[in-house]
């Protein structure tokens, strides 16, 4: 989490990470503002390199478009709403990046 703490939760295969965070009331300011419609970058998550490479699907153009605007974008960033859990992901740890600013707002 943004304050450095770790939160654990249970989820089912087939859930996307946005659903998991919302359904388990995990408190992340503004997470999932567009409700998983690829219209914002507030569900931005940072994966460990190995986990990132093992994710079954590469990001679509539409996901990359929204990642463009994510604050604190890294090479192992994905949008939580696009990550569907598989059995292999049991024990997965992801980091919530600080800030959810959308770069479509930068006036400076």
């Amino acid at each position: 989490m943004r304050d450095g703490s770790k939160v654990s939760t249970k989820a089912n295969v087939g859930d996307n990470i946005l659903d998991i965070i919302v359904d388990n009331d995990i408190d992340i300011d503004g997470y999932g503002a567009c409700e998983g419609t690829l219209a914002c970058s507030t569900c931005h998550l940072v994966f460990k390199k190995d986990d990132y490479n093992k994710l079954p699907e590469k990001p679509s153009d539409e996901e990359l478009d929204m990642l463009d605007l994510a604050y604190g974008l890294t090479d192992t960033s994905r949008l939580g709403c696009q990550i569907i859990l598989t059995k292999d992901m049991d024990g997965l740890e992801v980091a919530v990046p600080t800030g959810v600013a959308d770069a479509r707002g930068s006036a400076e």
Partner: protein, 346 residues
Amino acid sequence: MFENLQGVHSARAFVGWYNGLAENKNLSPDLSVDTVAVIGHGNVALDVARILLTPVSTLEKTDISQHALEALCHSKVRKVHVIGRRGPLQVAFTIKELREMTKLPGCRTIFDKSDFEGLDKYLKDFPRPRKRLTELMIKTALTEQSESQNKADSEWKVQFLRSPLEILPDSSGKKVSGIRLGVNRLEGNIGENQQAVPTGQTEELSCGLVLRSIGYKSAPKDGTIPFDNKKGLLLNEKGRIVGETGLYCSGWVKQGPTGVIATTMNDAFELGKLIVSDIAKSVIQPTSHQVGKKIILPLLKEKGVTTVSFADWMKIDAEEIRRGQKVGKPREKILDVQEIMDFLKS
């Protein structure tokens, strides 16, 4: 400028019209014309073009206002020009919105590849968002049109380096028939900050509808809150109104008219944190007599102001959803404020 001619509207009013804002319900834009000129290169300009060019079969499943849907069913609009005074590197629209435009069914996207000459060598130095956006425009400009695109019966074109100089009337003198555009060139180092300079050349574009989408500006409500007229903002430092302890602002009126809902949402969160911090540091000291709605609601009632509570909102929401279900839409927006108030009383 004949801005009062029929057929010239602000994009904001047009958006209000299709979104179901009561104040724009009587806009009645004339969609019996072939060509529309949208002035501006931001996401709002793309959004009005999107609504003009999206097949009705798609729109009718959304919560678009009913009168807009009906007007669009009979629309004769086949060409939309999205016109801006600078070049590809200065566009304010963003890639998601552009990509959706390029995938509009039955519609051809036109970029002139000469507008992009010599730009690709600079791309690697741009930040990722600008780089990917410019690459998408170049790719669209260079791609051979597919079979389905050639059969498209509508098209939209992004025109660069053009400033509107004059709205041209038709023979009746009452309606728009075209615009005179000044041709610009760019000055300055290649990048987002290049400035447009007129060349003196002009062109005319025939069109039957002009939508101005060149930005927003906040207006002062009255003289009591310090306002920066030049920037069109409340005079503030990081959200604290200058000279007024305990008065704060957030969103476009605080930092200017850019940013999407997620941006202003975040700004609201930041303001919340600031207020909490100011209380903790005793910058402001909420007193026990500040009891919010216990004082405000009776005061409003005394002034004869009608209020709508969250419980009322939930009733309106449920009713709009119910009406929408009957016609296969997520909701059917009620466009008339009096109708809403009558419904709440019923």
